[in-house]
Amino acid sequence: MSHHIDLEDIRSEFPALHQLVYNKPLVYLDNAATTQKPTSVIKRMFQYYEQENSNIHRGVHHLSQQATEAFEAARAYVANLIHAQYAHEVIFTRGATEAINLVASSLGELLLQTNDSVLVTAMEHHSNFVPWQQLCKRKNAHLLTLPFSREGELDLEEYAALLAKNPKIVAFTHISNTLGTINPIREMIGMAHEKGIPVLIDGAQSIAHKAVDVQDLDCDFFVFSAHKAYGPMGAGVLYGKQKWLDQMPPYQYGGEMVDKVSISQTSFNVLPFKFEAGTPDVAAVLGMETALRFISDVGYDWIGNHEHQLVDYATTELSQIADIRFFGQSAHKASVVSFLVGQIHPFDLGTLLDKMGVAVRTGHHCAQPVMDFYGIHGTVRASFALYNTIEEVDVFVSAVKKAVRMLS
């Protein structure tokens, strides 16, 4: 997008940013956990319940048809945004976690036999780790884990060595929520495909920050949650290649996903409905579409540049603090800064930052294997979004310095 983008205009669209906490202006740097929502998204959902509410895909009446059309238009929009070949390759879920569980359960059922293996990395969020681990337990299969370096990067030679063990499924994250590493997924997908192994990409941390083209990446599955991308909680996406979705058994059973039901048997509906049992969160799906439109109006190029500036600046400024240690120092990094200062507990630092109006995340970030690797219990994590400003980074860094002085 070539038009001029004014950060103040963007910020004015996010009501939640304009509040005081403990009488200090809120500096919201917990965007990797969830982003704030623009007015357009909130209004869209409100409007649905005020004027359009009705159950979809069922009624002959006007409202139901209108809601169905809006819901399917949202699907088409998502498909277009991520460059899916077909709209029916977009399955609506509750979020990334449900999408991964769906694939682990259903593709796992299709492909995994006793003594087979699944390959993940050691930097996964628990949501892209535990479903595979439990699948392997159920199937008496092995979970292979690709380690990462101290800088937080995956080693492609080790990856090749693990692929040589012929895992049946490979799953890894596009961007690490803890380390910020942007993984070389295109190359990694290509390597798996040379051996005919399907790949799931966890895009929970990427969809708000980077343009995604699933056909160019050639990934077999791509998942994300709306709420980490300016959309509502309760909606997310599973993109899957038709050839897999067609073969995979249903994940849940219920209304909508069936074709014919008799006492003795049931035949299942076509894609995408086969994987959408029950009444979905229509308002959330519509809110998600509005959020994704908002992102594309701002433009991934602008977002990438802006957030890159914020992370670089934050990292440079924080580096002046004595005894600071960064976790995740890849050259390819998204808008996440994870750190510890000396022996200070992240909880102490986070508590004092909170008192200064700065919202960060502390703890293990649902990635305990990452903490184990570094031999720590947690970090402080600041994560940036398109609405954050350089001035906020200044407030954040001086708050960290002040907290460190108090705790030293």
Binding site: H345, P346, F347, D348, T351, D354, G363, M406, L407
Partner: protein, 140 residues
Amino acid sequence: MTTAEIQQQIIDEFSAFDDWMDKYNLLIEMGKDTPVIDAQYKTNNHLISGCQSRVWLHASFTDNKVFFTADSDAIITKGIVNLLIRVLSGQSPDTILAADMGFLDQIGLKEHLSPTRSNGLLSMIKQMKMYAQVFKLKMA
């Protein structure tokens, strides 16, 4: 002193400060004075769950009174544990079971009392009362 008197004493100490920073500085200082748990009790058995920082709590029972020692890897958490210990340690099981810890709200630590906070302050109080309950049963 009764638990109410100790609570009032703590409230007075904190009310000398208006600024949150001074209050937290005091809490951090108190963290340094927490009655130190004997190393042999710093085990998983004595770990309180539900805390983002690790908290170890030990209780002993002498002359019908319960005595607590504790430790945490986070200093603010230690400060908070210290406050709880000041109020509850050395009291009878019945007093501990009946104690209302409302002073935490009055000294501006209300946000730590929310059940959704991951610092486990509520778990600590619960654990202390549980010890009191156990000792009470032993007395009977």
